[in-house]
């Protein structure tokens, strides 16, 4: 595991850079919150230097999300990182199409299986439970839909460590700013 402190420093640096880039007065608190969260996420992803799947997926999904988000992301990432976001778009679309096709085929197959109506063994029930939870985990981790099981667990490990770092840094910053305002 990488030492937390260096990761924290890196994350803080990236985050501050991102926050400074998108520092214009916002009207509502929700918008501000959105900007802060997005910048924190992207800083967390870029602190990883794109070595992990989840960080790449996070940045690309944030970049293609919506027009407003896209604008923000561009601001946060800066001009130098424009190109990769555009490049990432095409494969993502392809992948989504492929996924749709796969889902459809799965649905058909499942119907066929249910008609067979075999009694479920306890081991198969356990497998089903694990599969369900794995699906949930996949939805939680950015880019988890396209990972196999081993990759998913590795990415989860990495994601949890960086989430912890993110929470730590954000908390310390929040307390510091609370103290500053008091």
């Amino acid at each position: 595991m990488r030492p937390h402190s260096s990761l924290k420093q890196e994350f803080l640096k990236e985050w501050i850079k991102g926050l400074q880039r998108c520092s214009f007065p916002k009207k509502s608190i929700l918008e501000r919150k959105k900007a802060i969260k997005l910048s924190a996420d992207i800083a967390m992803a870029s602190a990883r230097n794109g070595t992990t799947c989840w960080s790449r997926a996070l940045i690309s999904s944030a970049a293609k999300d919506g027009s407003d988000n896209n604008h923000l992301v561009k601001q946060i990432l800066g001009p130098e990182s424009d190109r990769p976001a555009v490049e990432n778009k095409a494969p993502a679309r392809q992948a989504s199409v492929c996924k749709k096709i796969l889902k459809r085929s799965c649905r058909i197959r499942r119907r066929g299986r249910r008609k067979c109506g075999a009694a479920a063994a306890p081991s198969s029930i356990a497998k089903h439970l694990v599969k369900k939870r794995r699906q949930i985990l996949r939805s939680l981790i950015p880019g988890g839909e396209f990972m196999n099981e081993i990759c998913l667990i590795e990415e989860t490990l990495d994601y949890i460590t960086s989430l912890r770092v993110q929470v730590d840094v954000m908390r310390s910053l929040a307390t510091a700013s609370v103290r500053g305002t008091e």
Binding site: P3, H4, S5, K8, L12, I16, L19, Q20, C22, S23, F24, P25, K26, I29, L30, R32, K33, A35, I36, K37, A40, D41, A126, L129, V130, R133, R134, I136, L137, L140, I141, E149, I150, I153, E154, T156, L157, Y159, I160, T161, L163, R164, Q166, V167, D168, V169, M170, R171, S172, L173, A174, T175, A176, S177, V178, G180, T181
Partner: protein, 346 residues
């Protein structure tokens, strides 16, 4: 014949060495051993080839030097196969005797004439004590008798008087050492399948369980849970709680700073005070590797994370993010330090 012996031996060794570098090395070597064996015991080809041939691989690994060939062939050519400890030998031979290779038998008959001499001579010269046994066996041609002889020879090997014993054992151990690396990555236990698909599947499962162990160490409160579904549940909960904390903290920051200007003076002071906490935190994480302590400090940390801060906008957030975290005390750096110290000296 006695004069021709060194030449014959040389020829044999050459043959041996050639066969080392050829694709059919196993077949050749087994032939040689058969020939020597035939010379000694005058038994039929087919029986001998049946017995020795299937252990080609073993022979390859068992005779790293040509010099040892004589030892093996004159002693107990058929018992020499490295099938582990000596009590396995008979079993191995009887097990392999059921698959006769016809091609090898033909080849043996072709080279019979020249090899009989070598085998016989080496036999007579090198091992006088073996000679009696072999002569006794010469009269018997049938397979049963040969097997009986094998048992006899084996008992002799295990007997105290024979110096062959240690050599055999050495070579056996050597062979087992050579053979082991094939199975060192994936080891099938008793009753497990050995085809490539199930082996790969087993490797995959082992990898997954190893990573799950790491996750178990990382996620607090996951140590006591057995079962994959429960562990995944816990991991999901943890990831969700972390994500909610990020949401909450970003909301808090947005509430605290009406304009998103984190001016640099402020930031520098924050960066300055940030490592101060780190210095306290680091020794616990990286000097004491006891996972229990880690968990203690982590849970303490989580509690301090959720310390209630009165913000007007907390109504936006669902309260479920605090479901598993009890707010314990107000946030304070001193208290954090205390917590860390407590965790260290627990």
């Amino acid at each position: 014949m006695n004069r021709a012996l060194p030449e014959m031996l040389q020829w044999q060794q050459q043959q041996q060495q050639q066969s080392y570098f050829s694709e059919l090395s196993g077949v050749f070597r087994s032939q040689i051993s058969h020939l020597c064996f035939d010379g000694g015991f005058m038994s039929s080809d087919s029986v001998v080839t049946r017995e020795v041939k299937p252990d080609n691989n073993g022979l390859e690994t068992a005779w790293p030097e040509p010099g040892k060939l004589e030892m093996g062939s004159l002693g107990l050519g058929f018992e020499f196969e490295p099938c582990g400890p000596s009590y396995n030998m008979n079993y191995a031979i009887s097990g392999t005797s059921s698959c006769p290779p016809p091609a090898a038998a033909e080849l043996v008959t072709g080279k019979m004439g020249s090899a009989v001499g070598t085998g016989n001579e080496s036999f007579k010269k090198r091992k006088a004590d073996k000679l009696q046994n072999s002569k006794a066996a010469v009269e018997d041609d049938s397979m049963k008798k040969i097997k009986a002889y094998e048992e006899d020879g084996e008992s002799k090997i295990t007997g105290p008087s024979n110096s062959n014993k240690s050599k055999h054992k050495k070579e056996n151990s050597k062979a087992s050492e050579v053979q082991k690396p094939d199975y060192i990555h994936v080891r099938a236990r008793r009753g497990q399948a050995t085809d490539s698909h199930s082996l790969a599947e087993r490797v995959r499962r082992e990898k997954i369980s190893e990573r799950m162990k790491y996750l178990q160490d990382l996620v607090p409160g996951c140590n006591k849970i057995t079962g994959k579904a429960g562990m995944l549940d816990e991991i999901i909960n943890y990831v969700q709680s972390l994500q909610r904390q990020v949401e909450f903290l970003s909301m808090k920051l947005a509430a605290v700073n009406p304009r998103l200007d984190f001016n640099i003076d402020n930031l520098f002071t924050k960066v300055e005070e940030f490592p101060a906490v780190q210095v306290v935190a680091n020794p616990i994480h990286y000097l004491h590797f006891n996972p229990a302590q880690e968990v203690v400090s982590e849970t303490a940390l989580r509690r301090t994370i959720s310390a209630p801060v009165t913000i007007p906008d907390t109504s936006f957030l669902d309260s479920s993010c605090f479901a598993q975290i009890q707010p314990s005390a107000t946030w304070d750096d001193v208290e954090l330090q205390n917590l860390y110290n407590a965790g260290r000296f627990h």
